[in-house]
């Protein structure tokens, strides 16, 4: 029976109190892991998507590119596209176009794409509509639809959404470009040689273009996500801090309540360091166990999130391992334990300094 085993017993002795103290840590850790985990998962998923879906460089109009609701001059026009296509440094050139339109007076967003791997859908590629259009108009595979006076037959249905209350239609890019006055949103291409050189060549040789390499994209993703995660991490840490403060509080109460017991431990020969160690151990255990429970809770919530929201974000194949990388688990569990041990320092120091004779008289 070592004095450290006593730390376990002490936590078990006051189960409700230990559980309530741990609750602070549990909530703090769960919030932190949930937010950082979701951010990290999204970040690695987006980076992976960028690397697999994108060519070496992507080329846009120099105004920043044409997206939802852009005006006509934000696109790459015919002339520009053919100049790019003629560049010897580039090969495997793929165009993409996107524009807004209407379908039976319902606003829709049309994405003309080349790489059908980036969309998850049931059916075959060609003309894929989203669930909201299916729900509104009762479309199914084989239904006829009209976009900008052109008729198409639905070949597939996707669960992805614009998230903005607009219908979403994916079309083969060759069919979509004529609908958008032959204008292209972006061109992705593979480069012969260094993508950085190809990027500079495109920007200097084709006026009115802006090119981005894969590493430009991943850097942009990192910059954005790191900023967001730092911010939410700082806010979520406040929860953890409150949990840690409650450990200081409860350990002070524990030490005061157990004054006589500490006196007995010293009387039967335990050193000040051993008493200090046992209290630190108790505080550390609160943090360690609390953080493990918090971690498991966050993992469950993240998995639920993947199941519930994954299909809409086109991320249902993202795994929990993306969201809970080893570094996050280690930093959070280690950090919460370390902070809890630090929280126990003052109560433990007080306990170790107790005068034996006075402690033994304590009621």
């Amino acid at each position: 029976m070592s004095i450290y085993k006593l730390s376990f017993k002490n936590l078990k002795r006051r189960k409700l109190r230990s559980a309530l103290t741990m609750l602070g840590i549990i909530i703090g850790v769960a919030t932190l892991v949930l937010l950082i985990g979701a951010g990290t998962g999204m970040q690695s998923y987006m980076k992976e998507q960028t690397e697999t879906m994108m060519g070496d460089i992507s080329i846009y109009n120099s105004s920043g590119g044409a997206f939802m609701g852009s005006s006509g001059d934000a696109y790459l026009n015919n002339d520009t596209v053919s100049k790019i296509k003629n560049m010897s440094q580039l090969y495997d050139i793929k165009e993409e176009t996107q524009f807004t339109s209407e379908m039976n007076r319902t606003p829709i967003y049309v994405l003309g794409i080349n790489n059908w791997d980036q969309v998850k859908f049931n059916g075959t590629p060609g003309v894929v509509v989203d669930q909201s259009l299916v729900d509104t108009f009762g479309y199914k595979i084989g239904s006829k639809i009209t976009i900008k006076d052109k008729d198409f037959t639905v070949t597939g249905i996707t669960k992805e959404t614009t998230g903005m209350g607009m219908g979403l239609v994916f079309l083969d890019v060759e069919k979509a470009i004529p609908l958008n006055d032959n204008k292209v949103t972006s061109i992705s291409a593979s480069a012969r040689g260094d993508p950085e050189t190809a990027k500079k060549d495109v920007e200097s040789q084709v006026p009115g273009t802006m090119a981005m390499t894969q590493s430009d994209f991943t850097k942009q993703i990192d910059d954005m996500m790191n900023g967001i995660m730092l911010f939410i991490g700082a806010i979520a840490s406040i929860g953890l801090l409150v949990g840690v403060i409650s450990i200081v509080n409860i350990m002070l109460v524990n030490v005061t309540e157990r004054t006589r017991e500490i006196g007995v431990l010293k009387a039967i020969g335990f050193t000040n360091q051993e008493v200090l160690g046992s209290i630190l151990m108790e505080a550390g255990l609160l943090g360690f166990m609390g953080s493990l429970v918090g971690l498991v809770m966050a993992a469950i919530l993240l998995q639920l999130g993947i199941i519930l929201f994954g299909p809409q974000l086109g991320m249902e194949d993202v795994s929990l391992a993306y969201m809970l990388p080893a570094w996050l688990v280690l930093v959070v569990v280690g950090g919460a334990t370390l902070l809890s041990v630090l929280a126990g320092l003052y109560p433990a120091w007080r306990a170790s300094r107790l005068n034996v004779v006075e402690a033994l008289r304590y009621d």
């Binding site: 029976m1 039967i268 004779v357």
Partner: protein, 217 residues
């Protein structure tokens, strides 16, 4: 016979505000190996303070203490704790068992090397066969004090110090505890008890009277 404990010219002075109180006033106290001593005296006579010095729970303001051949004043706090753990067994008036631990765990708590078999043997020795796994709340006062005595024996000490060991017990249990201490003494254990109880003191080979911080033999 060698002296296990030798307290020479011990003073213990407490400050209560501006006033100084001398709990001990130049006490000389020798304890031979194998003896069984009772220290008696009214409250405030200094007998508990003397026991605390004997058990290195406290140090004298002035004077010298030698325990098992070691000069206590010259030891570091850690060495004092080690000496306390290895050489002294404490028995308290209020038993002071750890309520979250079973009888056996309480006995094993101070052991330098945890030894379950030895813990059980000691509990058998004090008459608690089969009650190893009871918590203190599941034991009677007399049984609790026997566990406390068993705990004091965990590291084969050279000296047992008991502060009012019968203070919270009825006559029957008091006699059982004193019988147990007497048996241990017959087996060679040196024992000092501090008590108000003349019945308990009768068991000792020798009684020392204290008043106003001084010993009258």
């Amino acid at each position: 016979m060698t002296d296990i404990l030798d307290i020479k010219g011990a003073w213990k002075t407490y400050k209560m505000g501006a006033e100084e109180i001398n709990a001990l006033q130049g006490v000389n106290f020798k304890v031979e190996e194998g003896s069984f001593l009772a220290v008696m005296g009214p409250s405030g006579s200094g007998k508990s303070t003397l026991l605390h010095l004997a058990g290195i729970l406290d140090l004298p303001t002035k004077g010298e203490i030698t325990l098992g051949g070691k000069k206590v004043n010259e030891l570091s706090g850690k060495e004092q704790a080690h000496l306390r753990r290895s050489q002294i067994g404490f028995v308290f008036q209020r038993f002071n068992l750890l309520s979250q631990l079973t009888a056996l765990e309480n006995v094993m708590l101070p052991m330098m090397k945890p030894d379950k078999k030895k813990g059980k043997e000691i509990l058998d020795r004090v008459g608690l066969e089969g009650k190893y796994h009871r918590l203190p709340t599941q034991l009677s006062g007399g049984e609790e004090q026997r566990v406390a005595i068993a705990r004091s024996l965990a590291n084969d000490p050279i000296l047992i110090l008991a502060d009012e060991p019968t203070g919270e017990l009825d006559t029957k249990n008091s006699r059982m505890i004193m019988d147990l201490l007497t048996e241990l003494n017959k087996e060679g254990m040196t024992i000092i008890i501090v008590t108000h109880d003349p019945m308990a003191a009768e068991y000792a080979q020798k009684t020392v009277q204290m008043s106003d911080g001084t010993i009258y033999e």
